[in-house]
């Protein structure tokens, strides 16, 4: 039940924000003072979440397996070079497998 409530709540609030802006701001431009922080929300949130997923185990910080860190970095590098999201998996997962095979 909790999962349904949380998912529906996020959906409703998220939609309300999108719809409110689209319906009421039509034809206007948001001030620069708001656009700059908004443009930074995505990178900051993604980085914070990625770091937490890699380093948090059981509510405490711990060093993740080297193979996982190498795979993530390799995947990011590939996406930066190609601009194609597919490469994060096409490179990241094989690097993970090879690193695990090599005992990293």
């Amino acid at each position: 039940v909790t999962a349904w409530i949380v998912i529906l709540s996020i959906g409703v609030v998220s939609y309300a924000l999108r719809a409110t802006v689209l319906v009421t701001v039509a034809g206007r431009t948001l001030p620069e003072s708001l656009l700059v922080p908004l443009s930074l929300v995505g990178p900051a949130a993604l980085a914070a979440l990625l770091a937490t997923f890699l380093f948090a185990h059981g509510g405490t910080a711990s060093t993740p397996p080297a193979a996982e860190v190498i795979a993530v970095l390799a995947g990011m590098f590939a996406v930066r070079r190609t601009g194609n999201m597919l490469y994060v998996f096409a490179v990241g997962l094989p690097v993970l497998w090879l690193s695990a095979l090599a005992g990293v």
């Binding site: 909790t2 999962a3 349904w4 409530i5 949380v6 998912i7 709540s9 996020i10 959906g11 998220s14 939609y15 999108r18 719809a19 802006v21 689209l22 319906v23 701001v25 039509a26 431009t29 948001l30 656009l35 700059v36 908004l38 443009s39 930074l40 929300v41 995505g42 990178p43 900051a44 949130a45 993604l46 980085a47 914070a48 979440l49 990625l50 770091a51 937490t52 997923f53 380093f55 948090a56 509510g59 405490t60 910080a61 996982e68 795979a71 993530v72 995947g75 990011m76 996406v79 930066r80 601009g83 999201m85 597919l86 490469y87 994060v88 998996f89 990241g92 997962l93 497998w97 695990a100």
Partner: protein
Amino acid sequence: MTTIAVTAAPSRRALLWEGCRDISPLVIGVLPIGFAIGAAIGTSTVPALAGWAGGPVIVGGAAQLVTIRMLDTGAAPAAILTAALLVNARVMMYSAAIAPWFRDASRRQRLLVAFPLIDPTFFVSAARFQRHDLDQRGRLAYYAGAAITLMAAWMGVQAIAIGAGSALPEAVGLHLAAPLAFAGLLAKATAGRPQVSAATVAAAVAVAGIALPFQCGVLVGVLVGIAAGIAVSP
């Protein structure tokens, strides 16, 4: 006698199909994320139907992934809501940017446009509308074609991955699919110095704050990261 060539305006059906066709490459690009989310749902304690419903309800891969992962780790609902909304905050910019193209649409139509507004629908529609050759009905038809294609593919791939997720051995590394999806999105989102600064500081603060209650480390990291990004903005 002078002959004037008249080009007929494309029909709404043709524009619907054009939107479907134009978004296809972007759909292929986001399918791995959809698969990663489906796999995360399939291997988590979150009810599969609730997790899958998150696709059309939340309409945002990263936010849906955050929701699934945080639900799975038992985070507080308020923390999950905050984190998911922060991740989806960029969509408000898309709303503001695409709004002028639907200035002549009715309120009901604009409310419908807001529903599937996410990265692929925004990018492909904004690029098409810039050609200034579509009227309001044409823009709505094009947008509908793109949105329907995206949502159908998004829900389909997640359903497949939910079924496959628990059947695949751990050695495949699907447990890393979600972090990899985040890493890929992050690699694309950090184009300038402010974005890189915001991401670096946010990650460092979030790790330092892992022990904070209700997973507040993420929220604190995001806020400090944004401040760092603003500090180095031109």
